[in-house]
Each structure stands twice: as structure tokens, then as C-alpha cells.
Amino acid sequence: MSIQPIEAAELLSLNRFNVDEDEPHIVLDKDICNSKCRLKPCLFVCPAALYKLDKNGEISFDYAGCLECGTCRVVCKEKGIVKWEYPRGSFGVSYRQG
């Protein structure tokens, strides 16, 4: 494979993840996101592009693939992110290079 633009999802597939299926480390109150938050900066700043709009224009989010940078938490002004913690010990992304 030569150098080319790569979709975020494909880039994430190169990383090692141990997803915590029992306990999401980021939880949204989508009512807040959809009704109160006009700008939705999370759509643009998440390096993993995990925040998306569905066909109804409503926010969708999957915590699997999170790189744990914390950017969404900082830009979330309307507090639609009701929980942001690091994943439980040994879960989440494991960088081999870093």
C-alpha cells in the first residue's frame, strides 16, 4: 500500500484496542446534543472521527476506537457529554509506537 489519504476508521483498525463492552467510558445525553448544541465542535475535533450525524441530523457516537485524547470533553460547552473518564485499567487503546 502506498501513501494515500486513509479514512479514520481504517486508520483505527491499525491500532490495538481492548474495548470495554461492559462499561462505556464516554456517555452522551443525546437530547442535549441534538436540541441545545448548535455548533457540535466534537464532529470536527475528534481525531478518530467518532462523532457523526445520522441521516436525521442527530448525533451518533461510538466509544470503541477512542484514542483517549480528551479533546471532545474540553470543547463540549453544552455538557452533552455527561460522562468522560479514562477506560478502566487495561481497557482502551494500547499504543505500540506512541
Partner: protein, 444 residues
């Protein structure tokens, strides 16, 4: 306690076992460079140290640009750098300004940076590799590094921090040290570190692109073992930030940093802007044929001295590393890992001194030159705040070079007239140029 920590048998040796009643001298949260440097220094002095790391291994949650300034490791242990898991010693310092397809590159080559047989000034670095090596060195000194455990919170008693809660267990120490990085949930919970602001941090994204060592050396004009650092302005669509490329042994780290508050209003994914950087005609030939093997992202504090929390300690708790805001970005050099290590050493020396740890830590931070160094370059933040730095000025630079090197049948106009024309094309008045000039002069 042994069960709670899940310590493998080889970590239990060293003359003592951890029982329910036992209390550590120091518990350190986070096995990054700050935490490990602190643990190493304390363990070497015979202190009973526990480092708790949420990643499966030290470094597995950490991302750097990156490069590392070597002097810091010498403060931990003279000569330790010789066996360190580092990449290439940096002898080429490059700055690029991009505007559309055009680019201007300054390339400073200095063989003396290789150390000429002594200690090289700086190395490129991969954090998952380096941190794990560094942690193993602290273990050799007798520190216990417990990985795969997340600290959930602090334990307090009459206003004094006495220990940590982790996975339903409690662990106690005379002193807790928060070395939990840029987001530092722990130091924030303790009321020491204020909430991060989207204006004063950067979000960095990075691909590790594998290439043969020989290809890297040919493309960047390097001898074996030598490396290049390239910082890029004008690749962020005007968003406050920039690109970077560091040559590792057999890969390059290519990335881009954005200010979240601006990126959030830009209407385009930071990932997409970064992907375009890969295809830029000045970057693509450097990475052509390479294979991306990892995609990372991390926050970085950008505020420098003025971003250091007002209080770096309270009774029973000290904050070190990036949690304490110890990052220096002056545009052409960016430092963080070295400062983290220096602050870890300062904290350890404060403990060893036997004085009240908090105030002694502040004294050590001054003595070891960390606070004075950060204060000396505090003004650079104002310089880097100039919005024209990220789009207009790179365009002016390439416009001037374009006019210098363009030849046709017309009578060439004078240089001053051409520069004025370029400024006008980019909407920069003489007045704003003078204002930025004064601001720049005052800043540095």
C-alpha cells in the same frame, strides 16, 4: 494488597512484601517520563515507591510528536542515555512554510548536535518504546510499577491526601504524586489544576509511517543514526497550529496539531486536514512508498509558563510533568518530555531532602532551572497567538519567493514594490505588519 495489584512474582522481590498494613513512602500516579524519573530517583535512595499506570504497559497510553532533549536523562543518572530506547540523534532542524502547493523550507544542518562522541543534544523518540524501557530501569532500582490499574480517586483525611482508590481497593502513602498527564483528572479533583480550555491546548494527530532506514537517510540527507526534525506552518487551513515530521530509526512520525476551539468551528474534520498534508507535494516525496502502522492522538498544553497552576502541591499531594503544565512551545522548538523528567527529579529531591515536600518541591523546581527556563520564554505565547502566523504569513513567504524566482519577458519590477504587492494580495496592511513586528519583538 498483593491480589489487588496483581503483582507478578518478579515484582515482589526486593526485600519487602506489600501487606495490607504497609504504607508506601510515595505513590506515583502515571508511568510517563515524569512519574518514572521520580520513581527511579526515589527508589535509588531506598524509598518504597509504587507507580500505578492505567495502561497495560508503561507508555501504552502515551503519544509524542516527538523528540526528546537528552540532558534530562543525565540528571536522572549520568550516562543512562547511552542505553536508552531512543531513535535518531537530531542533526537537521527544518522549518517549512506552506501555501497551497508551494512551500519554503529552512534547513539548518549542525553535525555538532550529534554530540561528537559525547552526549547528543536530542533524539527522536517513540513513547510506547521509550517509556517501557525507562520503567524497566526504575524497576531495577527497586520501584514497583503496577500496570493495567486506573486510579479512580484520592483518599483524604482532614484535608490531607493520604492515598488513592483504584478498582475498589485503597492504597496509602506519605505522599501521592500526580504524574497523570495533560488531562490530569486526579490533580483537577484535588483542586490544583484548573479545567483545560480549548484555546490554550492543542490536539495532535499522528501517523507512524514505516520506511527503510536507508530510504530515510537518503531522503533527508542523513548519516546512519542521525535524524531530522521538520516543523510546518501553513498546513492547518489557518487554524492555530502546525505540522511536524520526525525521522525515527525505521519510520517517520508525521502529524499535525490544532487548537480545538478553532478546529471545532472550522467545519472540517482535523483528520481530513491532516490527510491532505500527507499528499502535499513537499511532504509526499518524503513518505512515498511508506506504510502506515499506527494512528495516534493526544492533547498538549500550549500555554507555557503562564499556564502553570497557581498551586503545584497541597498537603500530601504534588503535581509533576504535563499535569503541572510543564510544556514549552516556542515555535521552533517544542519541549515537554525533558521538562517532565526534570520535574520528576525535582519532586524526588524534595522528598529526599526530608523537608516539607510541597515547598521543597517548588525550591527544587527553581534550583533545577525548570521554572526560570519556562519564565524566560513566556512571551513566545503572544508571538504564536498572532493569527496571521498560520495562513497569511506562510502565503507571504511563498509569494515573495515566487516573485524572486519568476522570470519572463516583462521588465522586472523592484523588490520592494514586489513585496508590497505580495502583502496587498494577502490582505496585510503595512500597519498590521508593523504591529505584529512590535508584538513579535516584545514577545521574544
Amino acid at each position: 494488597m498483593e491480589r489487588a495489584l496483581g503483582l507478578p512474582p518478579d515484582l515482589k522481590e526486593g526485600g519487602y512484601t506489600v501487606s495490607e498494613e504497609d504504607k508506601f513512602d510515595v505513590i506515583i500516579i502515571g508511568a510517563g517520563p515524569a512519574g518514572i524519573a521520580c520513581a527511579y530517583t526515589l527508589a535509588k535512595e531506598g524509598r518504597n515507591v509504587l507507580v500505578i499506570e492505567r495502561g497495560d504497559t508503561a507508555g501504552s497510553k502515551n503519544v509524542t510528536g516527538g523528540r526528546f532533549y537528552t540532558y534530562a536523562l543525565d540528571l536522572v543518572e549520568p550516562g543512562l542515555w547511552k542505553e536508552a530506547a531512543l531513535e535518531r540523534k537530531v542533526t537537521r532542524e527544518q522549518i517549512m512554510m506552506m501555501a497551497g502547493d508551494r512551500s519554503v523550507k529552512i534547513d539548518y544542518s549542525d553535525p555538532s548536535f550529534s554530540g561528537e562522541g559525547e552526549m547528543p543534544q536530542s533524539f527522536t523518540i517513540l513513547r510506547a518504546v521509550f517509556d517501557q524501557w525507562f520503567a524497566s530501569k526504575a524497576e531495577e532500582q527497586g520501584a514497583i510499577i503496577a500496570c493495567g490499574i486506573k486510579v479512580d480517586g484520592l483518599i483524604g483525611e482532614n484535608g490531607r491526601i493520604t492515598g488513592v482508590r483504584a478498582g475498589g481497593d485503597e492504597m496509602f502513602a506519605d505522599l501521592v504524586i500526580a504524574a497523570d498527564g495533560v488531562n490530569s483528572m486526579i490533580a483537577r479533583e484535588a483542586g490544583l489544576v484548573p479545567e483545560l480550555s480549548g484555546e490554550t491546548i492543542g490536539v495532535g494527530v499522528k501517523e507512524i509511517i514505516e520506511l527503510p532506514a536507508k530510504t530515510i537517510e537518503e531522503r533527508f540527507g542523513l548519516k546512519p543514526g542521525e535524524g531530522a526534525s521538520l516543523l510546518i506552518l501553513g498546513c492547518t487551513e489557518g487554524i492555530h497550529g502546525g505540522g511536524f515530521l520526525y525521522t525515527n530509526n525505521e519510520s517517520v512520525s508525521l502529524g499535525c496539531v490544532f487548537t480545538p476551539s478553532e478546529a471545532g468551528e472550522h467545519g472540517k474534520q482535523v483528520h481530513d486536514i491532516f490527510q491532505e498534508l500527507k499528499m502535499h507535494p513537499a511532504i509526499y516525496p518524503l513518505i512515498e512508498g511508506g506504510k502506515t502502522v499506527e494512528y495516534g492522538a493526544h492533547l498538549v498544553r500550549e500555554e507555557g509558563f503562564r499556564g502553570i497552576p497557581k498551586k503545584l502541591y497541597r498537603d500530601g499531594l504534588i503535581v509533576i510533568g504535563e499535569a503541572a503544565g510543564f510544556v514549552m512551545n516556542i515555535g521552533y522548538t517544542i519541549r515537554g518530555i525533558d521538562l517532565a523528567i526534570v520535574s520528576g527529579v525535582a519532586a524526588a529531591r524534595a522528598v529526599i531532602s526530608g523537608k516539607e515536600p510541597g515547598p521543597a518541591y517548588l525550591e527544587e523546581l527553581k534550583k533545577i532551572n525548570l521554572l526560570p527556563s519556562m519564565k524566560a520564554v513566556d512571551g513566545y505565547f503572544d508571538l504564536l497567538e498572532i493569527p496571521r502566523m498560520y495562513a497569511a504569513y506562510p502565503k507571504v513567504a511563498s509569494g515573495i519567493f515566487n516573485s524572486m524566482y519568476s522570470v519572463n519577458s516583462e521588465v522586472p519590477s523592484g523588490m520592494i514594490k514586489r513585496i508590497r504587492g505580495v502583502l496587498k494580495e494577502n490582505g496585510i496592511s503595512l500597519w498590521s505588519l508593523i504591529k505584529d513586528g512590535i508584538r513579535g519583538y516584545r514577545s521574544i
